[in-house]
């Protein structure tokens, strides 16, 4: 299964330029329900409605706006967004290489993968190898949709991952929550007992061991229900109406995804 590209552009550092595609690294593991009409179980689709004209708005008529006052918006187009930092909307320029263990996980926001674009395979492979050997990652800025992200490029498995980082003014200083030490005597003995228990409980990290409880419970509920009640049926299948609404859904979702930027 090929992963869909969210963005295509170029990684640069000094004179080297590597074409890449940005793809997802995580997918929220929600069980996807479909909203249906209670009357006849027709599937429902999300659409946009203009309250002034009292009608549904086709995707071509949806634009992005910034609120400047009550009910007052300034429209901002894709081209205008690109113009804010044109050099960063197609290029991930690595400014510094840093020791990846120096980047506090506090800064990590969302992870993605980068895959090599056509002709970039060799330089991509080189960057992966070099980062692995030096334990370094690249710090860069790049624009995706409405935002300019500070990012860390690093190696995950044999691939380059791109993690968006929080800006330092978004991170709350730790001193705000941990009180300064008061005179309370040593905790040496308790610490030693805890350390012994910690060592006894040592294991390797195996994420597959910790199942998502909610997902398991929902799947069990669905299984139980399917045994006792027959599934309901939608009036017509999607194939019959492919010409109309089927396409509209895809186009709408695509245009909204573009407008909202990729989170």
């Amino acid at each position: 299964m090929a992963l869909q590209s969210i963005w295509t552009g170029t990684i640069t550092f000094s004179l080297v330029a590597i074409p890449v595609r940005l793809v997802k690294a995580v997918r929220p593991d929600r069980i996807s329900f479909r909203m249906l009409h209670a009357k006849d179980y027709s599937p429902l689709i999300r659409a946009f409605y203009c309250p002034d004209e009292d009608r549904m708005v086709p995707p071509g008529e949806i634009v992005r706006g910034y609120e400047v006052g009550p009910e007052q918006y300034i429209e901002v187009t894709e081209d205008e967004l690109d113009s804010v930092s044109p050099e960063r909307s197609r290029t991930i320029e690595i400014m510094d290489f840093v020791d990846v263990s120096d980047v506090d996980p506090l800064y990590y926001d969302r992870p993605y993968y980068l895959a090599p674009g056509r002709g970039g395979e060799k330089a991509y492979g080189l960057l992966v190898q070099v980062m692995l050997r030096t334990n370094r990652g690249g710090i860069a800025k790049f624009v995706l949709g409405e935002r300019e992200h500070l990012v860390l490029l690093r190696v995950s498995g044999a691939a380059l991952s791109l993690v968006t980082l929080h800006y330092s003014d978004e991170v709350v200083p730790a001193a705000e929550t941990v009180p300064e030490e008061k005179e309370e005597g040593g905790v040496e003995e308790e610490k030693d007992r805890m350390a012994r228990t910690i060592r006894r409980m040592e294991a390797r990290f195996d994420p597959a061991r910790y199942r998502d409880d909610r997902r398991r419970k929902i799947m069990a509920l669905l299984g139980r229900k399917e045994e006792v009640e027959a599934p309901v049926e939608a009036p017509t299948s999607f194939e019959d109406t492919q010409e109309g609404p089927g396409d509209l859904v895809a186009v709408l979702q695509e245009s909204v995804r573009k407008l909202k930027g990729v989170r």
Partner: protein, 256 residues
């Protein structure tokens, strides 16, 4: 200024209980956009539409279905889902301890600061024990009707909780189908040298979100009726594979 605690509970492992409070570690400040109708700039609302008849369906006529086959659904209502919500018992249960640095950051979701609740002693002892052993506690807890998987780690005298994604939420790097590329020793060496020359300590304060300011300025100018000139992004030409070594060496010369 002390921020308000989001949640209180106790960390439990072996025969220890350490009462803690959770605080938010990140506060995002981002420009928000809305979707408008291009003709009249009225803010759009989302509606659910019947896929066949294209008519709006009011909320009370909507039901949730899980597709079990082509056009066949099992209906699930809100009460049934609510009954599946976990019972909160205010315990952060540690199941295992793992060596620090073992968790691929792709699993990291959100970070919370932990502060001691009621007593400081147990908190300090645990922070020191984690620091001394270099371990992190893999734990689960229930907060706001959701169950979480997380990692408890010390940073200096303080502790933090990072929520982790579940295994099936992280896409394996193998699905990228990366090609295997042959690299010469000289290319690798030149690459390592270049990365060393371009290295610096990580200083997050160095990087400001100047884009957000520029975007605000653009909006202000537009609001004042100014015309915005469009600048086209340019794409850099890829370094050809047969000139990789040459480019790395030229870069290195430039860097030192």
């Amino acid at each position: 200024m002390v921020s308000r605690a989001l949640w209180k509970g106790q960390i439990h492992f072996g025969d220890f209980d350490v009462p803690v409070k959770l605080h938010t570690a990140v506060r995002e400040q981002r420009i928000q956009f809305h979707l408008l109708h291009s003709r009249d700039h009225v803010r759009l609302r989302q509606h659910m539409l019947c896929a066949y008849e294209k008519v709006p369906v009011p909320r009370e006529e909507q039901v949730r279905g899980f597709e079990v086959g082509e056009g066949r659904y099992i209906i699930v209502d809100d009460d049934e889902l609510e009954r599946l919500e976990p019972e909160g018992n205010r315990t952060i249960e540690i199941h295992d301890f793992v060596r620090g640095g073992q968790i691929d950051p792709l699993y990291f979701d959100r970070v919370y600061y932990l502060a001691p609740d009621v007593m400081l002693r147990g908190y300090r002892a645990l922070a020191e024990a984690l620091g001394e052993t270099g371990m992190e506690g893999i734990c689960t807890w229930t907060m706001r009707k959701r169950s979480y998987l997380g990692s408890l780690a010390a940073k200096g005298k303080a502790m933090r909780l990072i929520t982790l994604r579940h295994a099936d939420e992280v896409i394996d790097a193998g699905s990228l189908d990366l090609p295997v590329t042959g690299l010469s020793d000289r290319e690798l060496e030149a690459g390592v040298n270049l990365v060393a020359a371009l290295s610096a300590p990580f200083q997050p304060e160095k990087f400001e979100n100047d884009h957000q300011k520029k975007l605000r300025e653009l909006i202000d100018r537009k609001a004042a009726g100014e015309k915005i000139s469009i600048l086209r992004p340019r794409q850099r030409r890829a370094t050809p594979p047969d000139r990789l070594l040459e480019t790395l060496e030229a870069s290195l010369k430039k860097a030192v």
